[in-house]
């Protein structure tokens, strides 16, 4: 797997520099912005999408097909993409946590608000990857991109707005909900869905004709 991780790291450095710029700008903005939830969710979704973007580069260069001739089973290739994606999301989540701590000190937001933002970002990132990966492993980037775009739109376009709407509609209910076991269960559920998606991708990619 090390060889594949090395390859993806080189590709990320070459093709995704602009994402690094977006990451820095959004992190800086989210520190001082009053509504930082959108920026946080956007960054996490972006980081989860990068893994899928790398699959498209593999496909375009003919690497996927060539890889079939190497002692590099398809299972390993799927595992590597999920691991690489987790590493990216982990790194962005760490940066996001730091920015949210700063955000709390600058804007005086409550710890509860910041935790909710981070929780949201974490779940949205995992969901996007969970939906996008099986689609591209099954149909390829060309055909799987519809599902991939729907996932991004749902997470970035709708989810933060929906959370904000519920918060404004009933602050008491949100506070109650936040204190309940349901909130702690959500990240676990997101992780379980992510693991399920991983398993599904393994099965789908094994059968795909390249």
């Amino acid at each position: 797997m090390k060889g594949l991780l090395y390859k993806d790291w080189l590709m990320l450095k070459k093709y995704c520099r602009v994402y690094l710029l977006v990451l820095i700008v959004f992190l800086v903005v989210s520190v001082s912005a009053e509504e930082s939830i959108f920026f946080s969710v956007y960054l996490m979704v972006l980081s989860s999408v990068l893994g899928v973007t790398l699959v498209s580069y593999d496909e375009k260069s003919g690497w996927e097909r060539y890889c079939d001739t190497l002692p590099c089973p398809r299972e390993l290739r799927v595992n590597e993409k999920y691991v690489f994606s987790l590493i990216l999301m982990g790194a962005v989540f760490a940066a996001l946590t730091v920015s949210q701590v700063l955000h709390m000190q600058i804007t005086g937001s409550s710890g509860r608000e910041v935790s909710l933002t981070l929780l949201n970002a974490f779940i949205c990132g995992l969901f996007t990857a969970s939906i996008s990966f099986p689609a591209v492993f099954r149909w390829g980037v060309e055909q799987g991109r519809i599902i991939y775009f729907v996932a991004i739109f749902a997470m970035v376009g709708l989810e933060p707005g929906a959370v904000k709407f519920v918060q404004e509609l009933s602050p008491e209910m949100t506070a109650q909900l936040f204190g309940s076991w349901l909130v702690s269960a959500l990240p676990v559920l997101a992780l379980l869905i992510f693991l399920g998606s991983w398993r599904l991708s393994l099965r789908l990619y094994r059968k795909r004709v390249l």
């Binding site: 060889g3 594949l4 090395y6 080189l10 580069y57 260069s61 097909r65 002692p71």
Partner: protein, 280 residues
């Protein structure tokens, strides 16, 4: 041991059928696959490499079945395909580093030596390579992990004549070790004629023949006869013929031609073209 054993191999696509192909590549030998575009050469190669599932028949590579452990067998196979690619941003140096992690037997010194021999720059990215240079890069990777079997699909296309000549020599050197074998498909039949021990002709998904090259050259020849003489000959003796205002040119089985006919040596290219295009 045989390097490759194919029995009754079948693959069906809409508009194409690979029809019960039987092929054996003995260890230490070079087998050339000859056929037009769409004859089934690349499909056969992809099936051998387990890149797709067959619809019937069986394949054994280096004595192993194509099961879940086939990835270990791939450690011993070097492959150059016509349409394969490395990630565009990677340089030869970076490709070497990556391959070192993928192949247990990776020989960095040999890789560097082969790149130097093929004049592949170490620090130029793959996207900036010419087609020939991309081929050379693939050849360097295919040779640098001490494979027991080389599978080359149109590997000489895109190479300039000088490099192609050296490459043919390198392939012949490779099989000096009796454990090492080569399966090569190419449109450049003259290359195959020079290096192959066995020749297999494919046409429209069928294997027309698979025979030792020397036996083929000995058995078949070209005759130039009149229409009247042609009618007297046993039709079984004629593999293919071409009729012109000046007479008939045909590839014939020497053993079935009566004495007195002048039979000239046949090249592989003539043999193939007459078999596929010539009238019976």
């Amino acid at each position: 041991m045989n390097a490759i054993e194919i029995r009754d191999l079948e693959k069906h696509y809409p508009g194409f059928t690979l029809d019960r192909v039987n092929l054996t590549l003995p260890s230490g030998c070079i087998l050339g696959l000859v056929g037009e575009n769409g004859a089934g050469k690349s499909t056969t190669i992809r099936l051998i490499l387990n890149m797709m599932k067959n619809d019937g028949g069986s394949i054994r590579v280096l004595g192993a079945e194509q099961d879940e452990n086939f990835s270990k067998v791939k450690e011993q196979i070097g492959v150059v395909l016509d349409d394969m690619g490395f990630p565009s941003c990677m340089t030869a140096r970076q490709i070497g580093k990556m391959m070192k992690q993928l192949y247990r037997n990776w020989d960095e010194a040999m890789y560097q030596k082969t790149l130097k021999w093929l004049a592949v720059p170490m620090d130029k990215s793959f996207e900036k390579y010419s087609r020939g240079m991309k081929m050379k890069q693939s050849i360097a990777v295919a040779l640098s992990h001490h494979p027991k079997l080389l599978i080359l699909d149109e590997a000489t296309s895109g190479l300039d004549p000088v490099v192609r000549d050296s490459f043919v020599d390198a392939v012949m050197d490779f099989t000096r070790d009796e454990e090492c074998s080569v399966l090569i498909s190419s449109h450049i039949v003259s290359d195959l004629e020079r290096m192959c021990d066995y020749i297999a002709f494919m046409h429209e998904g069928k294997l027309l023949l698979c025979e030792e090259k020397d036996v083929l050259m000995e058995r078949y020849g070209v005759i130039h006869v009149t229409n009247e003489q042609m009618e007297e000959l046993d039709p079984e003796a004629i593999l293919g013929k071409r009729i012109s205002p000046y007479g008939v040119e045909a590839v014939a089985d020497r053993t079935k031609i009566p004495e007195g006919f002048s039979v000239n040596p046949v090249s592989l290219e003539e043999l193939f073209v007459f078999m596929v295009k010539g009238e019976k």
